[in-house]
Point group: C2
Chain length 355, copies 2
DNA sequence: GTTGAGTACGTAAGCGGTTACCTTATCGAA
DNA sequence: TTCGATAAGGTAACCGCTTACGTACTCAAC
């Protein structure tokens, strides 16, 4: 690996000009079959890997879409790091980008801002998919002046001047709570939310309230307990909850990890799930299928979120003048044991299509 | 977002030459504090995102490391797709790259080869980390002529002319089996392997045999059953196994997902775990902690694998003449319920350091 | 006053592809 | 024979940065 070979070497060793090499590589016309052969073998012989930088500069397109997501590890101790669902989003983004002939560049934002961000990530891509609140408002707007950006799972995104793709948190929880009320006769239902300022948590709580009001039940102004979106967070919140009240009929948790934490605490408190109290989560992570009782939850199409995100920036790259697009992906109710259901067949819910 | 702004515009609007803008942006010397201010504000005002392609071309370094991993989804039906541990590897790679000021570009190889590969991925990066067998031998060697490549978890990699980072599969399983024999008195132990040609599976089986021989027990020439590295694969293999023999003392599975499949089949067969038969996995995926009985397994440092992989190519980029590096990461025995242990404290095992 | 060193810049030649525009050769039709 | 069309392929400008050099100016030392 002395030096990376260039198009000039390929041209020389096949006796043509670089223009012809370029033409052959792109299947355009203007060369004979014999020439084509010579160029192709020369390229293969050299193991030529064309410089993406040079090509990108020339055609003004790097062929790379960036995916930005939050990672808190290095910030808050060994805390929980970036949420599990990000993995799925990454996979989805990869798939969509590859299908479109692009590649995806990923980067966790650990407090990176401004100049660093622009140089280390933004400059290398043709567009950015940004998960949740991984970027400050300032950076978002600054970068958006030069690069297409699509926001993922960003609440209040309708308002903002961005393309967005989000998940129908509200309908998901609404369907879930309606199920608890209607099919399991629950009346006393509590909501254990994630971080108070989390957009996801707020939306889910909103769905919770809607369902209760719809059922003619009293709806609280704020979640009955809150904690981090982690097992520990859920455990802590439920522990606190049980201190000053009798156990409710059902505990609706902000996400699956919190629900798993809740299950652990309830087991210790000798409360049976679902006999004494039903428990539900949100996300549908893998662990929910294996834990006992298996977890009733709302499935988010995380992978699709990533796919649509990439799709969205690709679309805007293709047509910068197009009007803003705010897509909302449907969620799906997944009924398992922890709510009292026996079967595990999922029931489809919400479907408000892209706006 | 009319047109991406360039260094020329920054230069013009701050009244200096592009050389000076460049100097200011890189904190080198040769400008006055006043000039620095002017340039910086101009850049911020424009929201200038410098072209990574242009910069990459000029300094002959894209600042991107590629990570290639297998994904079989689109090839073999809705089969299982790329293994779960890849997510962890991705996270590790991202972290290491970001720490070094680079970014990571990910791409699943779904049969992509030759020319496409070179253009879509290889050309965009400064080096490649390749998971397992995501690339054909031919592509590997071809690309390696122009790009630093580090192989991950690639058996027989010692021989190959590549930098490698792998995991000590063999010692991991050896420690596991020794534990079953010594602490739980198992004699009749079977190995349920992954795909016959999987390097990982072969290495793990080798460790299995070593442990048995070391304990003076008869060691089989080949795994007692085999299947895909999935729940279905494990279930299928164990079902076949139980058809023509009495249940063994212990079933050592090729990975956690197979072990989970095994647990399901054993439950249906009314065999108690661990009372009647012990079951173990490999990998330590999250589900293993939640399933009942919790799964005894061997933890692979997946994240570290990704980190070391990136580290390795970065090192080689820095010093192309350096001699081959073959790192082997230690594994760790994780004792939980499924082997008969009560506690869940992990015991450290193997530690053969980098070679 | 001349010289030398140092500071603060500007100039322009790359980096490795792409592609608009030319040139040359070939061939059928007028 | 001449002409126009078409095929095959070369020339060189350009994409947006970096950086080796060159230049102008200041200041201290001789």
């Amino acid at each position: 690996m002395a030096e990376r070979s260039t198009i000039y070497e390929v041209a020389r060793s096949s006796g043509v000009s670089t223009a012809t090499v370029s033409r052959v590589m792109h299947n355009s016309t203007g060369y004979s079959p014999a020439t084509r052969e010579r160029v192709l073998t020369a390229a293969a012989d050299l193991g030529w890997v064309p410089s993406g930088s040079a090509r990108g500069l020339a055609i003004r397109r790097a062929g790379i879409i960036g995916l930005l997501f939050p990672d808190f590890t290095s910030m808050g101790e060994a805390e929980e790091e970036s949420p599990l669902y990000v993995d799925q989003v990454i996979r989805g983004a990869e798939r969509a980008a590859t299908a479109a002939g692009d590649a995806v560049l990923i980067a966790a934002t650990r407090g990176t801002t401004g100049r660093d961000l622009a140089w280390s990530v933004a400059g290398k891509v043709d567009g950015l998919v940004v998960v949740a609140r991984s970027l400050t408002q300032a950076d978002l707007h600054s970068i958006a002046r030069n690069l297409p950006i699509t926001l993922l799972a960003h609440r209040g995104s309708r308002r903002a001047n961005f393309d967005t793709v989000s998940v129908d948190n509200r309908s998901g929880v609404r369907a879930l709570v309606e199920h608890l009320v209607t099919d399991h006769g629950c009346r006393d239902i509590v909501f254990v939310g994630g971080p108070a300022r989390s957009p996801d948590s707020m939306e889910r709580f909103a769905g919770f309230r809607e369902a209760l009001r719809g059922a003619g039940l009293p709806a609280p102004r704020s979640p009955h307990a809150e904690g981090a979106f982690t097992e520990a967070g859920g455990a802590h919140a439920v522990r606190a909850l049980l201190v000053d009240r009798r156990h409710p009929d059902a505990i609706v948790c902000g996400n699956d990890e919190m629900a798993i934490g809740a299950l652990a605490v309830l087991a210790i408190a000798k409360l049976r799930v679902p006999a004494d109290v039903a428990v539900t989560g949100f996300d549908d992570i893998a662990a929910g299928r294996h834990i006992r009782p298996s977890l009733t939850t709302v499935r988010q199409p995380m992978r699709e979120l990533g796919e649509q995100g990439v799709h969205s920036v690709l679309t805007r790259i293709g047509d910068p003048e197009r009007r803003r697009l705010n897509a909302v992906l449907p969620t799906e109710l997944v009924l398992r044991r922890s709510c009292g259901c026996r079967s595990a067949k999922p029931a489809s819910t919400s479907a408000r299509p892209a706006a």
